[in-house]
Structure formats: structure tokens, C-alpha cells
């Protein structure tokens, strides 16, 4: 009995988090009139398509700007993830291995910027980007978020774990600062760098406020922001189209995540050189 109830609790917990997503997935295979027809009463067909159709996907692909906007999201993901990984790697190296006045203070200042949410600082950030002339441009979207305190923290901690003897040995062999980073440190923190990259790649799909504010051209907009425009909460929304387009939007994130996630765990095994 105890075992049964603990299983039921786990099942309920999982259902609370997965059911809404599955429901949305099911909605993307529906036809709107069919959805509204079954909405009035509670039945199996309130949740599932009675006549599954790919019509919504066909209409989503036919949305004139969606392919371009999806490309924008993916490209922004690659640019931001790569920029963040590189800037975090270099800064983490300097903050871990170099000795200079105010090092800890600088690191704390970087971490402190975590407490400045975009929601709160949106207007002044907009003014800065406007002054730089980057409103409505791809770089206006990307540049403000290429520095990430989380990335710097992650990489610095990983470099701290690498034994210093390794870089001493490399520098005795005549390696300069760059070679030390490339040959002694980078191979040992590959997992952390990939984690940092992946985290910031997926992070682009979180975005709504900044592109909504800083990008007013339709063909430069991100897919998820454009899809949000299809929702009209107080009147009837074409949910099948919304979810078909949303699912097309998150497919690239899932593919990249699936391809890279094995590096996240396997790299831990290769750091065992202590």
C-alpha cells in the first residue's frame, strides 16, 4: 500500500509538469473548429484530437516570415553561445590563474550583475543600444548578452579544479599564456565549456522582452516573439497554429541539445588526471 501510494505521488508529480506540454503537442494536431466543438463538455476529445491532422503544421510552414524568424533564433543562439563561451573562457582563465590587484573585487562585481534582471533595467538598456545605433539590428539583440556572469563563474570554477602543476609544466616547456590555456587547461575543462555553450544556446529560446523591445522589423524578429503575436487572449486564438509553429521553433534547440548532451557527462571522466 505504501509503495503504491508513493508511486501514485510520483506519477502525479510527473503529470503536473508533463501533461500541459503533451496537451499543447496534441493541440498542434487538431483542427480549430474541431477543438471548439469539443470544448464545451468534458470528454476524451476535450484533450485529444478526434481527427488528427497536419494542417496546422502546413499553415505554420506557410507563414511568410516564420522560416526567416526561426533562422534568426537559431543564428542568435549560435552567436550568443559562442560569444559567451569565448568571453567566459578568457575571463575565467584570467580570474583563476593571474594575480592582479582587485581580482576578487572584479569577480564579485561580475557576479553582482546577476541581480540586475532585464525586466527591471529594460528602458535604460534600450537607451544604451539606441545611443550605439544598434536598435533593429541583429547585433543590438546579441551584444548585450554576450557577457554572462554565470558563464564566467562556471568556467572559473572548472579552471580552479585543474591542477596548477599542469600549466607550470607547460610553461616550463616554453608555452606562452595562450598555449597554456590551449594545451594545458582547455582539454581539461571541455565539459564546462560545452555546458556553458549549451546553456546559453538554449537560453535564447527564453527570450521575449529584449527582442520585443529592441527589434521592430518583422523579418529580423525571433520566431517565439512573432508567434506570441498570434495569441489574442481575450478573443479566440488559433491554438493549433500557435503550437505547430512553437514546436517547429523548439525543434532546433532539442536537436542541438541531444547532440551535445553526451559531452556533458563524459568529460567528467577525462578530468581524472589528479
Amino acid at each position: 500500500m505504501n509503495r503504491f501510494s508513493s508511486l501514485t505521488l510520483r506519477f502525479l508529480l510527473a503529470a503536473i509538469f508533463v501533461a500541459p506540454i503533451l496537451l499543447a503537442l496534441a493541440a498542434s494536431f487538431r483542427d480549430n473548429s474541431e477543438m471548439y466543438r469539443h470544448a464545451g463538455s468534458l470528454s476524451f476529445w476535450t484533450f485529444l484530437p478526434s481527427e488528427p491532422t497536419l494542417d496546422a503544421y502546413r499553415r505554420a510552414i506557410a507563414l511568410p516570415r516564420l522560416p526567416m524568424q526561426l533562422f534568426n533564433t537559431v543564428l542568435l543562439g549560435f552567436v550568443m553561445a559562442t560569444g559567451t563561451a569565448v568571453s567566459s573562457l578568457l575571463a575565467g582563465y584570467a580570474l583563476s590563474r593571474f594575480r592582479f590587484r582587485g581580482r576578487e573585487a572584479l569577480f564579485l562585481l561580475m557576479l553582482f550583475t546577476l541581480f540586475i534582471p532585464v525586466d527591471v533595467i529594460l528602458p535604460p538598456l534600450f537607451f544604451v543600444i539606441r545611443d550605439l545605433g544598434l536598435i533593429d539590428s541583429f547585433w543590438g539583440l546579441a551584444l548585450p548578452f554576450i557577457f554572462s556572469p554565470v558563464g564566467v563563474y562556471l568556467i572559473r570554477q572548472a579552471i580552479e579544479e585543474v591542477p596548477r602543476e599542469l600549466d607550470h609544466a607547460a610553461s616550463l616547456d616554453g608555452a606562452g599564456l595562450w598555449e597554456v590555456l590551449r594545451t594545458a587547461i582547455l582539454p581539461n575543462i571541455r565539459g564546462a565549456v560545452i555546458a556553458c555553450w549549451l546553456m546559453h544556446f538554449v537560453f535564447v529560446w527564453e527570450w521575449y522582452l529584449w527582442p520585443l523591445t529592441a527589434m521592430r522589423r518583422d523579418d529580423g524578429q525571433l520566431a517565439q516573439v512573432a508567434i506570441a503575436g498570434l495569441i489574442d487572449p481575450l478573443r479566440s486564438t488559433d491554438y493549433a497554429l500557435v503550437f505547430a509553429a512553437a514546436i517547429l521553433t523548439i525543434v532546433p534547440a532539442f536537436i542541438v541539445f541531444a547532440l551535445l548532451q553526451r559531452f556533458l557527462t563524459s568529460s567528467q571522466a577525462t578530468t581524472g588526471g589528479k
Binding site: 508529480l13 569565448v86 584570467a94 580570474l95 592582479f100 600549466d167
Partner: protein, 309 residues
């Protein structure tokens, strides 16, 4: 073994103070450069910009026409709508943080053992994070849709009245906060799972030998030893509670009748609908200071002094 950059600056510092102040920065700067430039341009400059704009008045085209001193702050603070917005933002934190912590802790305790089934359920609990905030907001918009939403279908199916979720006050607040908790509870769970795995099993074993029951074990051993995770989870949840603008902007637009008229939503409207840059910047600064004060208080109240060693 001397590291190339680890030259000691001790004796130099006595001779030349300003040179010592910059000691070691030369090579470090090359590597720090990209991060430092971004930090200054996009994290520190906006704050300076906010301070600068908050002391001016602007015409609707964005041109500074006059200096206003602290008038913008006075105007924002005496505005009853902004007072309500600040209160709502604080109330969101007061509701979200304890609920999310309780649920996250319960989930962590339940899924603590490392079994395959538990790993699967854990993955499901954190899955909303992978879809991104805009998409999860679409999902909730559909789930709680007044006409086709599953929630209303279930309510009417079991004989309860249907709810107009987005056009009634308390339900709209519940929807926005519920989305936020649903999305973030996985993070809290992960923090507590990490804290639980750090507790040495000998401590619990010793307490059990002394005759502690499961409840006593939880309240006298587990909970106190999770203090550090608590502190971290509270700060993370508080930060997230100040970031619930997306569903408000997408679905409720601050309504109905001001029920979700958060301070951050008013900042957005003041800047991008009314083009009142001075007031918007002073509101941004006020909310930022409020957030930092709340987090500082939490860090103080939840300060942990012990270590395992």
C-alpha cells in the same frame, strides 16, 4: 615553481603605489578584455544611463529638455499606481518564494533516492525550463483559455462554474504566479537535491541510533543542515519573482483592473508607450534598489555560519 604571471608585487608596492595598483593587470587585461568591455557597456552603462536619465525631463521624441533633479523619483513614489505596482511585485515574491520552496523541498525529499524512476521524474519536473518562457506562456494561455482550455473543461465537467481566467482579478494573478512557480520549481528542487546529497549519511544514522523518528530527523537534522541550500534557493526564487513580466505583457497587460499591474510592467509602459524616459528610469532604479534590499535582508536573515569540516 614560479608562474609566469605570478610575480610577487610586494617590494614594488612600497616603492611605487600607483604602479603597484596596476600590478599584474597587463597580461590579465588581454584575456579579460571581451568580458570587461561587455560588462561596462551593457551592465554598468545602463545603470549610469538610468541615473542620468532619471534626473531629466524629456520630450516625447526622447530629447532631453530640462533637468529635473529628484522630481522624477518624487513623482514616481507619490503616484498611487506605482505604489500599487511596487506592492504587487513584493507580494509576488512573498507568495512565490515560500510556495516554491515548500514544493521544491517536498519534490527533492520524495525523489532523493538515486533510482532510475526517480531520475525520470526529476527530468520531468525540470522539463518546463527547456521550452523557454514564451512557449510555456503559450501553453498556459491554452490550458487556462476561457473557451477551449482544459482547466475550464475539467471544472465544468465536475460541476464547478467555468472561470474567466484572464478577465477576473484573483484568477489572473493566480495564473501568472502559478506559471512562474510551475516553471521554476525544478530549479529549487535541484538546489535542495544537491544540498541533500551533501549531508553526510553518518549524521542521520547517528540520530536514528539515538532514537530519532522520521519527523524529528527531518526537523532537527535534515532541515538545519539544508540551511545553505535554503539561502541559495530563496535568493534564486526572489530574483525570479521579479521576472514575471513576460506572461503579464503577453496575456494580461496589467489587467484586469490593475490586478497584475506589476512595477516592471509600469516601467515598460512608461518608457515604451508613454515615452516618459525620465520617470521610467527613476522607476527602474527604485525597483532595482528594492530588489537588492530584499535580497540583502534575506541573505542576512538566512546567514549560515557553520561548515561541515
Amino acid at each position: 615553481m614560479p608562474h609566469p604571471t605570478a610575480a610577487s608585487g610586494r617590494d614594488i608596492s612600497r616603492r611605487n603605489r600607483s604602479a603597484a595598483f596596476l600590478e599584474g593587470w597587463g597580461p590579465a587585461l588581454v584575456f579579460l578584455c571581451p568580458a570587461l568591455v561587455m560588462l561596462c557597456l551593457f551592465k554598468l552603462w545602463p545603470i549610469a544611463e538610468a541615473i542620468h536619465t532619471s534626473t531629466g525631463t524629456f520630450d516625447p521624441g526622447g530629447q532631453r529638455i530640462d533637468t529635473a533633479g529628484f522630481d522624477n523619483f518624487g513623482f514616481a513614489l507619490s503616484d498611487s499606481r506605482f505604489q500599487w505596482g511596487l506592492w504587487l511585485s513584493l507580494a509576488a515574491a512573498i507568495v512565490k518564494v515560500p510556495v516554491q520552496l515548500a514544493l521544491g523541498l517536498a519534490a527533492a525529499l520524495m525523489l532523493r533516492a538515486n533510482t532510475g524512476g526517480n531520475a525520470l521524474v526529476r527530468a520531468m519536473v525540470i522539463s518546463p525550463m527547456f521550452f523557454g518562457l514564451p512557449v510555456t506562456t503559450f501553453v498556459f494561455a491554452y490550458l487556462f483559455d476561457a473557451n477551449v482550455g482544459a482547466i475550464n473543461a475539467i471544472l465544468s465537467g465536475i460541476g464547478l462554474p467555468r472561470v474567466a481566467w484572464l478577465s477576473t482579478e484573483a484568477p489572473a494573478q493566480l495564473l501568472v504566479l502559478g506559471l512562474s512557480v510551475w516553471r521554476d520549481v525544478g530549479v529549487t528542487m535541484l538546489v535542495f537535491l544537491a544540498g541533500l546529497s551533501a549531508i553526510p549519511p553518518q549524521i542521520a544514522a547517528a540520530a536514528r541510533l539515538d532514537g530519532a523518528g522520521p519527523l524529528a530527523l527531518f526537523f532537527t537534522i535534515t532541515l538545519p543542515l539544508l540551511a545553505r541550500s535554503f539561502q541559495f534557493a530563496v535568493v534564486l526564487a526572489t530574483l525570479a519573482s521579479f521576472q514575471i513580466l513576460v506572461p503579464v505583457l503577453m496575456l494580461t497587460k496589467g489587467g484586469p483592473t490593475g490586478a497584475t499591474d506589476l512595477a516592471s510592467f509600469q516601467i515598460y509602459e512608461t518608457a515604451f508607450s508613454y515615452f516618459d524616459l525620465g520617470t521610467a528610469s527613476s522607476m527602474s532604479l527604485l525597483l532595482l534598489v528594492g530588489l537588492i534590499v530584499v535580497i540583502a535582508l534575506e541573505l542576512r536573515w538566512l546567514a549560515v555560519k557553520w561548515t561541515y569540516e
